[in-house]
Symmetry: C2
């Protein structure tokens, strides 16, 4: 390597607060945010520090967007679909029912127009977004009683955010949205009949298998959801370019790291759940078919009501269609089945 005289560069010391929607007990999501902050610090020789806060420490877990928008804090880590009330098109930042797998979701973000679409949407909030994690395919939630048929869902109180919640509501479920930290108690005390969080690893850590016995799959409403780093646009614009780049790259690296962690840890946690007495149940065909149809109607309806939604949905839908065609040719899923006879 050829070296020259050291370059003297003066860069500001910057300290940000980074609020999250996650309980500190989740070493996946909250741990991922800690790692992201540590990486930015290392990249900037300690000059740019972000201090992560768990849900409820500065603002409640479902008010991260508001805190970033108002400038109460500079940055947040959350899921866009917590904020559908502010703009229904935010659903696509996380994912929609019967939507994209993690690999497709990331292809949509980075190579399918997703990043531009979501950043344009968030600009109206004075916020810039970067995908910063993916939970992998989620499970279909914990139930205190079995729900073999569609009619068994009627009147059940279930925690379920996003468009999946709206679909379940149309199928008769009494849908609630609570932050992750409140799920165990609500389920255990019977304030909820059912709840979903993420998948085997996180759900174990939140204690959910101790509050309900039946664990349904697949999580048809969240086949590959993203979590995002939201940054107040004014704070963002004041950063030196190298600090912006540090945030952007650390977010992108976190995206892959988190997905990889979930993939690895869920495998082991699933075995643990099975030996611990959890009863795995597939959703019945009538529930899945109805959910799929309700989803298609809901997406079409949202498109009619919101031009912001339609603007993202139309190309997204085409992207999904082409993804599936490619997957049928390129993917080894048939072979993988064959490889384990």
């Amino acid at each position: 390597s050829r070296k020259q005289a050291p370059a003297v560069i003066t860069q500001p010391r910057v300290r940000w607060r980074l609020v999250t929607s996650w309980p500190a007990s989740l070493d996946t999501l909250f741990g991922g945010v800690r790692t992201l902050a540590a990486q930015v610090k290392q990249l900037t020789d300690g000059r740019f520090t972000l201090t992560p806060f768990a849900a409820g420490e500065i603002v409640p877990g479902l008010q991260v967007l508001d805190a970033v928008r108002s400038g109460t804090v500079e940055a947040g880590h959350t899921a866009s679909y917590y904020y559908l009330g502010q703009n229904p098109a935010l659903a696509f930042g996380t994912g929609v029912p019967f939507g994209l797998t993690p690999q497709q979701q990331n292809a949509w973000w980075y190579a399918g127009g997703g990043l531009a679409a979501m950043q344009s949407l968030y600009q109206d909030f004075g916020v810039i977004t970067f995908p910063a994690g993916n939970t992998g395919a989620q499970m279909g939630g914990w139930f205190r009683r079995e729900v073999p048929r569609l009619s068994d869902l009627k009147g059940l109180k279930m925690r379920l955010p996003g468009l999946g919640g709206k679909v379940m509501a149309q199928m008769g479920v009494n849908v609630q949205v609570l932050p992750g930290s409140e799920l165990f108690l609500a389920l255990e005390r019977g304030a909820l009949d059912a709840a979903e969080w993420v998948g085997p690893y996180d759900d174990l850590r939140l204690g959910l298998p101790r509050a309900a016995r039946y664990y349904y799959y697949p999580g048809w409403w969240e086949p590959g959801p993203s979590v995002e780093l939201l940054i107040n646009l004014r704070a963002w614009e004041q950063l030196p370019l190298s600090y912006q780049k540090a945030l952007e790259l650390a977010a992108q690296a976190s995206n892959l790291a988190l997905l990889s962690q979930y993939e690895g840890r869920n495998q082991t946690a699933l075995q643990q759940l099975k030996t611990g007495g959890t009863q795995l149940r597939p959703y019945g065909d009538d529930i899945l078919k109805t959910a799929w149809q309700v989803t298609q109607d809901l997406l079409a309806d949202q498109s009619r009501r919101s031009s912001a939604f339609q603007k993202i949905y139309q190309p997204w839908r085409q992207f999904q269609k082409e993804s599936l065609t490619w997957e049928k040719t390129g993917s080894l899923s048939t072979i993988m089945g064959f490889a384990q006879p």
Copy 2:
């Protein structure tokens, strides 16, 4: 944001050469390396620059490891399975036949012991490795004539590196290893009867559809191969921590970016190939079943011959088994099929 007085930090100017195994015409692989270099430069305020070179500019495409090992250059971007002659266990850095999907492969790297295993292996070469890209599922190659049955493979001259090449060789194929830039001419002139590179997008750019008509799938020998950033260990150890971190994070971000690009672009390119007259053909059952069995025997045999191979293969095999169990529960592949009735 709270700002304090600027911190004056002196860091060296460092200039590295980064050789690759890729033709400059590939805006995926070579373009990804350019992006990686640009990101490192931005992260370090222009102080740390890497200049990428295409295959053959400084060293031939299949001698990248040797150039990094000897210190001729500081860094390289390549696929470990080009160097099986130097250590058969290098196969796992890229991937093995009937191996991991891209998501599983990354989970193995970052959360399944892969990074530690591969870095330990490369330490004997005086090199450190970071995964820095993934091509997604590959296709099964271009053939000038159809090969419906196992017996049709006998004596065919085919370009195919890695363990996949060894499997095909045992199935009667005359296996060649050439760098990507030489494939079109060799195939077009009949020096090769068949050749595989990556998938629809890259193969189009290399002109392969103009040299052969039949395009087979799936690429059972490469379900989710990684490419890697190799760095001379002595050069690495001389870097300031923030520069090391910049390389590591840019590599990790590239890993996801490249996979996402391939996923997005292969979709479109596949359509283009179909309308351009390429004939898609699935591999026959007898070829797939024989290939699977030959692969299992080969992996077991390599394990017996090489303790380095065995040390990685044993936990890898367990990881794959648990991945498949989780995928059967968590993955939406059944649902996705259902979503497109």
